[in-house]
């Protein structure tokens, strides 16, 4: 039996990762943990002292950790959809080379997304383990919280892949992070509840996939009831994955089939 085409692409990506993973260790694994330490423990001490019981009796570290898990997953997904895809088209031109083999456009995109999902999974599991080590939550719920993180990671990488495939120059990527990923990272409920946002911004935050993953993870880890029904949040994330993947295939075809 022959190997499904997307798995061949996945295997290729895994081989490349085996060579380059050292370079990404700091951004993928260490930075999120440093964030957790600096904000959760450092800043958290200050928050907890000034607002005892303000966050429904939860320490700031515990409040932050599940949100940061989801936000880290989103960021990992964004990176895979941005720099990785730009490299495939321009810097390394590996996509053109792959398409001279039996691998089709769809398989190339799905293999890429599958690999990105694996990266998000890896980063999220490491983060969840650290979260448990800080005694934010037992390891069981921590690992369960990887589910929504994985969803938002893929819900990000799919549309970002589609976006990157339409870019000729990488300045578009800086803009994506500056005006898209970073604001979402900061203002989707990761560091403070979105109820603190000005009223007109709250519906905007509601539309951001990360908001839903953060809410789901706080529900799983802390038992805080989300404002949106969990099933709706899951469906919303799945819709981003499906829609983003379809757009990515279209964008890849436009870029590569000439």
């Amino acid at each position: 039996m022959s190997t499904p085409l997307p798995l061949r692409v996945f295997e290729g990506e895994a081989r490349v990762y085996r060579r380059v993973w050292r370079g990404s260790v700091v951004t993928s694994f260490l930075n999120p943990i440093l964030y957790l330490l600096a904000m959760g423990v450092g800043l958290g001490t200050l928050v907890d002292r000034n607002a005892p019981g303000g966050l429904e009796g939860i320490s700031y570290l515990a409040f932050l950790a599940p949100g940061l898990l989801a936000a880290t997953a989103m960021q990992t997904g964004a990176g895979e959809g941005a720099w990785k895809v730009m490299a495939g088209f321009k810097w390394r031109q590996t996509y053109q080379a792959i398409l001279a083999t039996p691998v089709s456009i769809e398989s190339l995109v799905y293999g890429h997304l599958l690999w990105s999902a694996a990266r998000v999974l890896l980063v999220s599991v490491v983060f969840a383990t650290v979260m448990a080590a800080f005694e934010v939550t037992p390891i069981g719920p921590a690992l369960l919280a990887v589910g929504p993180a994985l969803l938002v990671g893929v819900a990000t990488v799919a549309p970002v892949t589609a976006y990157t495939a339409r870019l000729e120059r990488d300045t578009g990527l800086s803009n994506l992070f500056r005006f898209g990923i970073v604001p979402m990272f900061l203002f989707s409920g990761t560091f403070f509840p979105i109820s603190q946002l000005p009223g007109f911004l709250q519906p905007v935050a509601n539309a951001v996939p990360l908001y839903h993953a953060v809410a789901l993870d706080r529900w799983i880890v802390l038992g805080i009831t989300p404002r949106v029904a969990p099933a709706v949040s899951v469906l919303y994330l799945v819709a981003w994955i499906v829609g983003g993947s379809a757009l990515a295939v279209v964008a890849f075809r436009r870029r590569l089939v000439r």
């Binding site: 061949r8 290729g12 390394r92 031109q93 053109q96 080379a97 001279a100 083999t101 691998v103 000439r258």
Partner: protein, 308 residues
């Protein structure tokens, strides 16, 4: 006779309103080394990409290895080897990793790939570079690796888009030697080039392309016989001497080509022409007698030179 490996009829490629390949016909048989010779922008790469089943045809019909690229792209690509005009190796990986990953895209079993890598490293003379990253290879080494990569699936048909452009003469000759060996092993080669010597060395048969059309077809020898005299007398003038017009050379040769810096006399009787040329010695810088090449064929067919 066996069915042709590639058959094109009125093959056309358009990019928007621009016609890059303008309804060309050709047939390539198994075991041949077939060439597309033409200047920049002639449509060679566009044609190759259609044969490689990566670029859809705009019009006409094309059969590759008995299949239709529009329908059976993956099946065709699994039996082809492709060496693109620009190397697109994975710079971050080593020589063997590049070959290995590529073999996996063709779903070759890992053990088969490992054996084949040894053969290919040997073929490409890269055995001692096996663990070097591609980044650190010279241009000629990269080119050889790209060719080796194109052979990883043991293809019946190898497409080479300008295999030696950018290489020094020594590296080019070494590559020609490798390609010749492949041909002897029964691999069908399709080669594009704008080097006439490459076409003459490698191709059993070729078409001359210009502006999306085929302007002539045959073996290098046939083309030279058909469109040129066997020998050419080339005149170079002193810088301050006007070359004059064509009438000045009438009667010296069968055909005259006026170039900005030279005059070419195509003659069936070299001795007679040389005798006449010698009477012009006072205005000539130099002259030489040489064998006709495909460059002369191209000049005759298009009025322009192949390599500007």
């Amino acid at each position: 006779m066996s069915a042709p490996l590639v058959e094109a009829h009125r093959l056309t490629k358009r990019f928007g309103d621009f016609v890059a390949v303008d309804g060309i016909d050709f047939t390539i048989s198994a075991g041949e080394a077939f060439g597309f010779l033409g200047p920049n922008g002639a449509g060679k790469t566009s044609t190759m990409k259609m044969i490689a089943a990566v670029s859809p045809l705009s019009d006409g019909s094309l059969t590759v290895l008995g299949e239709d690229p529009r329908r059976d792209g993956p099946a065709i690509r699994s039996r082809l080897g492709v060496v693109p005009q620009e190397d697109n190796l994975d710079m971050e990986l080593t020589v063997t990793e590049n070959l290995y990953i590529y073999g996996r895209y063709f779903d070759l079993p890992r053990s088969v790939i490992r054996d084949r890598i040894e053969e290919l490293l040997d073929f490409a003379q890269l055995t001692d570079k096996r663990d070097a990253t591609v980044d650190s290879l010279s241009g000629g080494m990269k080119r050889r690796l790209t060719i080796a990569r194109g052979l990883v699936n043991d293809p019946e048909l190898l497409l080479l888009d300008e295999p030696t452009t950018g290489l020094d003469p020594q590296a080019r000759h070494a590559l020609w030697d490798r390609l010749y060996r492949l041909k002897q092993r029964g691999v069908t080669l399709i080669i594009t080039t704008h080097y006439m010597d490459e076409a003459e060395q490698l191709c059993d048969r070729l078409v001359v392309m210009d502006r999306g059309r085929i302007v002539a077809e045959g073996s290098p020898r046939q083309l030279i016989e058909r469109y040129s005299t066997p020998e050419v007398v080339e005149l170079r003038f002193r810088p301050d001497v006007p070359i004059g017009d064509e009438a000045r050379y009438a009667g010296m040769a069968q055909r005259v080509e006026m170039l900005p810096d030279r005059v070419l006399l195509y003659t069936g009787d070299t001795d007679a022409t040389v005798a006449k040329v010698e009477t012009m010695e006072n205005v000539l810088d130099s002259f030489l007698v040489r064998r006709a090449t495909l460059e002369d064929v191209f000049l005759h067919l298009t009025g322009r030179r192949l390599v500007e």
